[in-house]
Symmetry: D2
Subunit: 152 residues, 4 copies
Amino acid sequence: MSLPALQSAPFTWPVRVYWEDTDAGGIVFYANYLKFFERARTEWLRALGIEQQRLREQTGGLFVVTHTQLQYHRPARLDDLLLVTAQVVDAGRASMTIEQRALLKPQQGDTGGDAQPMLLCSGTIRIGWVDDRNLRPQRIPSTVIAALKLPA
Amino acid sequence: MSLPALQSAPFTWPVRVYWEDTDAGGIVFYANYLKFFERARTEWLRALGIEQQRLREQTGGLFVVTHTQLQYHRPARLDDLLLVTAQVVDAGRASMTIEQRALLKPQQGDTGGDAQPMLLCSGTIRIGWVDDRNLRPQRIPSTVIAALKLPA
Amino acid sequence: MSLPALQSAPFTWPVRVYWEDTDAGGIVFYANYLKFFERARTEWLRALGIEQQRLREQTGGLFVVTHTQLQYHRPARLDDLLLVTAQVVDAGRASMTIEQRALLKPQQGDTGGDAQPMLLCSGTIRIGWVDDRNLRPQRIPSTVIAALKLPA
Amino acid sequence: MSLPALQSAPFTWPVRVYWEDTDAGGIVFYANYLKFFERARTEWLRALGIEQQRLREQTGGLFVVTHTQLQYHRPARLDDLLLVTAQVVDAGRASMTIEQRALLKPQQGDTGGDAQPMLLCSGTIRIGWVDDRNLRPQRIPSTVIAALKLPA
């Protein structure tokens, strides 16, 4: 089921680029955008009242990533400040798909204040809810469904 | 241009799972498959006589990843031995697409020796050749084209 | 030269524990404290007006880590919020030593509000200033000396 | 108890430097030597017949790192081949200290074949055996003591 109308503006989380994130090309190592995207998903859930560690203790389940698709538009560099978004675009009983973007936040002084964030990386992440003993798919807990305002 | 007939068997590189690769779910952290895939691509190029650092010094260019798409089938765990494949499936003047897989190597003693490797993760990685000063697309160097036996 | 009296309270930076930071032991992978410590050093420098990328472009130099020593007291887990400190304890012409700690921030509701942060990891990091072309030691730039209020 | 005479030559494991290991300084990110050292420790144990995942399932315990101390002598770069050593230098009932080094393997053609490996990074890692339910110190299992030929 598609969810175009459920959310207006995507959740946004700031991520600073440190030495650990870069590679010898002088830019952010591409695999690290998956980390940035997950930080944003985690903070998006936290903002909705969901702590994954506690949820696991309460339900015996956890989210696992089942599919990722990323497109790299422009590189980020050391000290850059990124804005990372997360927005549900599709949800089922046991999984959901989140659309995510990493944008470069314009620095103060860039072109008079009307500079727009520049798209660096975009993609979709599909996550599924599983039993943490055997990693088999389970229905997403109702507390999560309710917090995300997904249809039951 | 598609290249189905250019390569018969894919290049394969072994990757052992260490503590650094796992997460608190007890399995390999999904972003790390991008690292495993890159190790296999690097060793595939090395097997064809291409060292990326030397190539950069000689040509002023390097490969950057422009698109990744990964599907996670089954989890890997600490001490598992993976077989990671790399095979060109599409190539243009400035970029190419590599199909990759991570398979679990059966342990000695598993079901009498006829155990098949199990698919854990599969995907495609698109890489483009760029000028290392401005990261703008360039034609892939002819030495690389020749080594990979791609059509000029 | 020791600098016990130069700084009263250490700089402190919050670090949240994400999936990427954990390992199959269910705790933060020990090598990642070096990343947490560096984030705190980077933000400490930024708070003093020093951006490392800009400084490199202006001076042709950068800090490299020459020695690390870490002691692990208690583990951190997914979703924990750490407070990471940084404080110069020794400085010379070409290098300095920073004392750092990672503390677990008490959660709201822990023992009535008077809970103290718990020490998880402590250590010292020695960094040296080098020419970025050959990585040979150089005198730390005077702008950095001034910003850190180190003796010239 | 010191063990200077117990082992003659240290265990050695090759580690290739990939893009994932480097940073924007163009060299191996210093924290990654902790990963390289652990790979060597893991393979050293495996060479002695000890698989950590199986050992955990059998004993309910695991090794955790309690102290690290590293000194960085010279940088490594993309495509470098390192030789990483591991050697027990001290052992007690619940912990042991391993001395480790990363050396740069000379390339073929370097100075006529008599080139010596160059020391890049050296250090000591202290590991303790703990119960995996509460991470409390335990006596190292006798099978490990026997495999490592440590005094009981």
